[in-house]
Subunit: 436 residues, 2 copies
């Protein structure tokens, strides 16, 4: 127990005393929230009026708006425009404390989270630790390909893509030059579709102006999808529309294409096809962060922690898991690893903690699908909202508005809107710096 | 000579032929410009109408507006807002080619520049390789302190400073916490003054809102100057005014303070004084980049290459050196390592190359001092222009206008102005992300 007394958290010391005497009524219980993504941040704010102390832990000091990450990767936005410091977001909340620490483990019996800065005690715990890229054990791809989950990923893709063009300019051998200019995107979900579309526009609308000596016929962009359709979560005709739009943007959409290996120079598909390419972006899978496997909690598919319908962990009713890290089925299907699920789970978890405090029974989570959207480029998107599918310019406008509204902070909204407007009218991309 | 034929530059092969036969009149001479800073970029553009091919080499793909780098370091601006891709800047120039390569050496006899992508042949060479931080052999400071010359430097300072506050929040020991929150800036020139002022405002106007538990009395900012005055290039009363303004911003300005060593935890001054501090920013010296010592050209003080008054290198009239990398005296004083010198030298060097092509004699460089400016914070600056010194709000407005005008690209101007306006009215800083 000595490690608790070395903790800097005042609540921990108070709770130690509470263990030997009666808990004083003035001590508010502590809710520790791990992760400042969509779920964790929403849960922390939903507890703003609850009679608790909220301690939010994250290894980064910012909240990231992941849905626009592909625009950072394609030089359209700056990282700062889609991220905001947690302390700035939650400035007004009196019962809130943020700590930039990395969570390393969990002691459910002692009700403590282990971090790189010592243990943090909790009365209730909401784990919103999120997801990471799932390479399904494909070593070569994990090492040589690029995921797209965080700011460093996005900047790595941006620098890598821009550098390919600089190298291509210096490459006298035509075969090697074409390999420099071949870009493979794997995965036909929303991320892969948006990434392939944005990459095509970056190259064919912007970079061609920067590289007057470039032969644009040397450029290839491939979108490889293992099944026979794009955007599996949407009706088939919207997936067809997306594929059609990508084709018009000169993206080679390939169905039934299973990637087996990548050595940084060549992609090998199942069936033996080999494509020389110096760039591979992997948007074909997600899993819960590996931390979930080290917490001593029961995990299911994709490394996600199995939860009750109330989002509580079976053996530990004071522990909740939400978002990408939680495994819960609805209508026999696992809930998707998407922002709306995390946001709605956060509301339920916060409400259930409040119910527990009042001695009421916790309630089951019910997911209300708000629909889904994917943009393919200028004036082109597909949308499926409340059972209605639409595409083209109307879907694109809806996409713009929905994303602007969801971005946190008026300053971010303003700068993103200005950037979009500028790029739209001038066919530009501001962030074309190779920074590493 | 085989290395030339392996070069990918068409001009190199053509010139090989020219060496054995008569030079065909249709072959334009090649001017290679090394460095895309103020001098190199201006020289390349000044040669836009000359009957030459211009090849600009830089290891980065962007031009950086260094005078605002301290605002990136203090979370006021994004790197992308003060930098612009070289290819975007010089898009319209027909006789221009850019190559992202690192120059590694020089063969003056063979008229070739060595790069990490093979040799590049030239008829005329303009070296604008710039400067770097001069630590005067102080090993500990070079290793543990921060320079401020490039984007990675600025981001390193930003991340380091913001992380100090996160660590201070987790630090129970008051002495160690105060060391976390002690920031040393060394050097009372414009960079040191601007850095100390901006750091003070970042902490006292912005971060105090992010860290409600922070005791602002734990924060110390020191500006250490070895002589007994700030802003040595300006009249004494402006230096006094700057020191006075910094004091009002709670910066401890110390004169006659010579830093001897720094181990990352403690700064040791000459005379034995020791100041515990986890941050040291070194703005006390500049020198030409170390590359200048590996070119086989005669170097003078600060590693700068000695040039004739015409900016030519004595033994090689086809080689020019400009900007921070050139050593030239005016009125018995070495010309300062500042942007105006580099820009004016670029004009002279480009004009002299044109004169050589026409068979005319080259002309001597004459520096016209445009004056100098330093901002200390909100509404506060000092200016010395055409012999007239002024300070306070008027100087601050002049500073704003001059810097906005000089920024390259309307988009950069717009976004920087918007950022400044926002920060001015809302006491904010957007770029408070810890990204590494």
């Amino acid at each position: 127990m000595t490690d608790i007394t070395t903790s800097t958290q005042p609540g921990a010391v108070l709770r130690e005393r509470a263990a030997v005497t009666e808990r004083p009524t003035t001590v508010r219980p502590t809710v520790v929230v791990v992760g400042a993504g969509f779920g964790g941040l929403r849960a922390a704010r939903a507890l703003g009026r609850a009679p608790v102390n909220v301690v939010l832990l994250d290894r980064h000091n910012y909240h990231l708006f992941q849905p626009l990450l592909y625009q950072v990767a394609t030089a359209g936005l700056e990282p700062e425009q889609i991220a905001r410091p947690v302390r700035a977001i939650v400035r007004g909340q009196k019962n809130f404390e943020f700590r930039m620490v990395e969570v390393t483990g969990l002691d459910p019996a002692g009700k403590r989270v282990a971090t790189d800065n010592g243990p943090v005690a909790y009365d209730y715990l909401i784990l919103a630790v999120g997801g990471e890229t799932n390479y399904f054990g494909l070593e070569g791809i994990a090492r040589r390909g690029f995921g797209l989950k965080d700011i460093p990923d996005a900047l790595a893709i941006r620098n890598h893509v821009l550098r390919r063009f600089e190298h291509a300019m210096l490459e006298p051998d035509p075969e090697r030059r074409r390999a420099e200019l071949t870009f493979i995107v794997v995965g036909g979900g929303p991320t892969g579709v948006e990434m392939a579309g944005a990459l095509s526009e970056l190259i064919r609308l912007v970079l061609v102006k920067d590289y007057p000596r470039l032969n644009v016929k040397d450029v290839r962009i491939l979108l490889l999808e293992a099944t026979d359709r794009l955007l599996g979560g949407m009706p088939a005709r919207l997936g067809e529309a997306a594929a059609e739009t990508l084709w018009r943007k000169k993206v080679e959409v390939r169905f039934g294409a299973l990637v087996e290996d990548y050595d940084g120079e060549r992609v090998r598909l199942k069936g033996g096809e080999v494509i020389p390419a110096r760039s591979l972006i992997w948007a074909a899978g997600a899993r819960a962060v590996s931390l979930t496997g080290r917490l001593g909690l029961p995990t299911g598919r994709q490394g996600r922690i199995s939860v009750e319908p109330t989002l509580q962990v079976g053996a530990h009713p004071e522990i909740y898991v939400i978002g990408d890290a939680a495994y819960l089925e609805a209508d026999g299907q696992p809930l998707p690893m998407m922002a709306p699920v995390a946001l709605q789970m956060a509301e339920t978890a916060a409400a259930n903690v409040a119910r527990q405090l009042r001695g009421e029974p916790t309630q089951a989570f019910r997911y209300r699908d708000p629909g889904s959207l994917a943009t393919i480029g200028r004036n082109a998107a597909v949308a499926y909202i409340r059972g209605v599918g639409f595409k083209g310019f109307p879907a694109w406008v809806v996409w713009l508005i929905v994303h602007l509204i969801q971005l946190i902070g008026f300053r971010n909204k303003l700068f993103v809107l200005l950037n979009w407007a500028w790029d739209y009218f001038f066919y530009e991309r501001a962030a074309r710096l190779i920074t590493k």
